[in-house]
Symmetry: C2
Subunit: 456 residues, 2 copies
């Protein structure tokens, strides 16, 4: 390629105050693109600690690491907020095996048990399979066709959505409630096509919940890879009597004590007014939790470093929050809101970054309390950095409880195209994170927090 | 991650004509995201044909393939436009070896000869190295310090640019003219830090030219990887007398006949008025030419397919152009303009896609002849597809000659962050292209061509 001819637009047509903001943003971006520690921090979290599901030894290590990293970044205070978290363990590697005498098939399928799933024990379950595309279809089949079988939810991502998250939003109910719906009609287990937009062989885990209003029986449930789902569906067309063997060794142990880690730079003018940016510290056990949500964690910690290194003193207290237990319980988010309420802390804005460390596209901002009106004024400030979208409404799972207290929330939105290639898989690893993409996302968040502190 | 709460903005606040355009764009995008052949076409071009430098057998195969692919996509006419192209061959694998008795080093460095470079022959060149950061520094050192040595241009990408292409634009002169500048002061060769933003061990080739106004002597020149450049620079600090051995087997053979491949859907109302979209068919020999510029080629071919499958008859003639020889001569671009002029073809707009198959960000549009004013009106149409930027000025290397004839040009701009990780390397391979990112870029281009045909 040759260079595109492009006219620099930075600093054009901006008022005086916007000009001083432009200069500040340029400094912030220059820091992030040349001196940021977020990539090396992520390397440690992802490769030295790795998967860190709530209640695990790795989650406990991550708490200690986050506290240390926050102090190193420049926090004057690091608070450990206690919370009790679920403690689900996978146990020995799960199995899923397809057999068909008619098709001369005896083939292991790439699979992963879903979070909160029960164990089958070593005896496993061997049963026929009934494939459905929806809960409606399952209901129409009814107990007559479902009883004693394994229900296979063969639901594809709708590729016509531009945001991959929209496709995820439509499909994820089969992961979350599929087992109880299946049990309602007498099924002995359920499996789901992995939640992904890419035709590969990686199985994607994620949380599920047994819904006792549907069935009191807890049946085992797994995700199989996209390609395994293709094979199973094709095989079922040729042999409706084929058998699937599933084996899981999962257990739910008693709740464990854990913590949110909250790193603070105390405000010079209004120390009891808070602007926070958070991600979640826990991550699924089958990968390294690099994009989900190691990148969010290191982006938030880096905000503290920027204030320190650029010598900026915030007016309000700025917090980087490493929430615990986003993946399978949201106990950390609830605990944070509880403490905020008890201590009568006034939160001016809360941002969550939990959509991967990809090139930033923009922010979704709550329209309540005027926050959207404020942030949308900064569109021209962000445009030179290719942060184009300031959309209405946003937040994140960890902020739900805070939002209920009336805190205006913001969701950071990176490019979504590659997220569901690796989401909740063994390949959500450090090498999938691009250094500059991560840094640009960090810079966008750092710049937004700077502006919020200045103008709130 | 949990879903961001986002209000759908599609179809909001648009006029009636914009509404009909919105519907058309939705159809076009749905096609690209579910039925497009661009990914499988790219797989063939990149993995079955591979690197295809001008004059090579692979370039000839690519011409035959492109003609066939364009007819298959729905071209009613495919024109082969002849042009003579340079025929440079790399020959046996180049070598670069660092030796230092003082440091006890004898280490091969990852390297690649630059396009158009001369050969050293089997005897190679063994010489001391002088490191510089700029031509100014070289000039100050002068013949006294440079003569008999190999000049090492140790110039980093400026990471503070948001577009990586801007950093490339600043550094690439050391690749292009470094050898002749070095020879001017009596150097026996030159090497350059690879043009990249990533600290890895891949060497990046690219074209160079001997500038006889600087020196009549043609010295060999190579790029070494980022890490090799680090090692060399560090070693020079400890041992200024270390030696580098370089060996190249390149040759420039007589020009070869080749072709642009031009696939056309003839317009129903104004068949002699043209809207074209092009990429370049040639690609460096050391990789597969996947992002550079296989993705551009398949994106252009796909435009024809969309017209056919959606049953749209364009008013003007639409052309997909596979230009030959962008990488080391631009002979194809010149030939296209010459034919256009000779045949008195009126070109309403020419788009080039040659910046990789990454997530689309926007278009750069010529401000001459009012084209920018027209295209910038479509901002709201593209926003739901995350195509945010309609910037002033744009084009591409293959369009330079057409632009001189007064044709308004457009450059397609995808996200630039990962492009220089793979640009002109052995790892510019098919597996580096993300299916949905490629399709979204194709859709953006297809949609723009549709609108241009409708409103020009």
């Amino acid at each position: 390629m040759k260079l595109l001819k492009l006219i620099p637009v930075l600093f054009c047509f901006v008022s005086f105050s916007q000009n001083s903001d432009s200069i500040a943003l340029k400094k912030i971006y220059n820091y992030y693109l040349t001196k940021s520690k977020c990539y090396s921090n992520l390397e440690y979290l992802a490769t030295k600690i790795g998967g860190r599901l709530s209640g695990s030894p790795q989650a406990a290590q991550a708490v200690i690491w986050a506290k240390k990293a926050m102090y190193a970044a420049g926090a004057d205070t690091v608070i450990l907020q206690p919370c009790m978290v679920p403690h689900w363990v996978r146990g020995a590697k799960e199995k899923c095996n397809l057999t068909s005498t008619k098709l001369k098939l005896n083939k292991p399928l790439n699979c992963v048990a879903l979070g909160n799933c029960v164990g089958t024990g070593a005896k496993g379950i061997n049963a026929q399979v009934i494939e459905v595309k929806s809960f409606d279809e399952l209901e129409k089949l009814g107990e007559a066709k479902v009883k004693g079988k394994i229900v296979f939810y063969n639901v594809f991502f709708d590729q016509t959505h531009i945001r991959t998250g929209s496709a995820y939003g439509e499909s994820v109910k089969y992961r979350g409630k599929g087992a109880s719906y299946a049990a309602k009609y007498g099924a002995v287990g359920s499996i789901v096509r992995s939640m992904t937009s890419v035709a590969d062989d990686e199985p994607h885990t994620g949380n599920m919940n047994y819904d006792t209003s549907l069935s009191k029986i807890k049946v085992p449930t797994l995700a199989i890879s996209y390609k395994a789902a293709d094979l199973l569906s094709e095989s079922l067309k040729k042999d409706a009597d084929l058998k699937l063997y599933i084996e899981t060794h999962c257990q739910t142990l008693p709740d464990e004590p854990s913590f949110n880690v909250v790193g603070q730079i105390t405000g010079t003018e209004k120390p009891n007014e808070f602007i926070i940016a958070g991600g979640h510290l826990d991550a699924w056990d089958n990968g390294q939790g690099a994009h989900d949500d190691g990148t969010g964690i290191v982006q938030c910690i880096e905000i503290l470093e920027v204030y320190r290194l650029l010598g900026i003193k915030p007016k309000h207290s700025i917090r980087a929050v490493a929430f615990m237990n986003e993946e399978n319980g949201l106990r950390g988010g609830e605990a944070y809101a509880k403490f905020a309420k008890e201590k009568n802390e006034k939160h001016l804005a809360a941002l969550e970054t939990d959509a991967g460390g990809f090139t930033p596209r923009g922010f979704g901002v709550d329209t309540t309390f005027g926050l959207y009106n404020l942030v949308s004024k900064w569109h021209d400030l962000f445009k030179p950095y290719f942060v184009e979208r300031i959309d209405k409404e946003g937040g994140g799972a960890d902020l739900i409880a805070l939002e209920k207290l009336g805190v205006p929330c913001i969701g950071f939105e990176p490019d979504t195209q590659r997220y569901f290639d690796i989401h909740h898989t063994a390949v959500d690893t450090f090498d999938k994170v691009h250094k500059r993409e991560l840094e640009l996302g960090s810079a966008a968040i750092g710049a937004l927090i700077y502006l919020l502190d200045k103008y709130k």
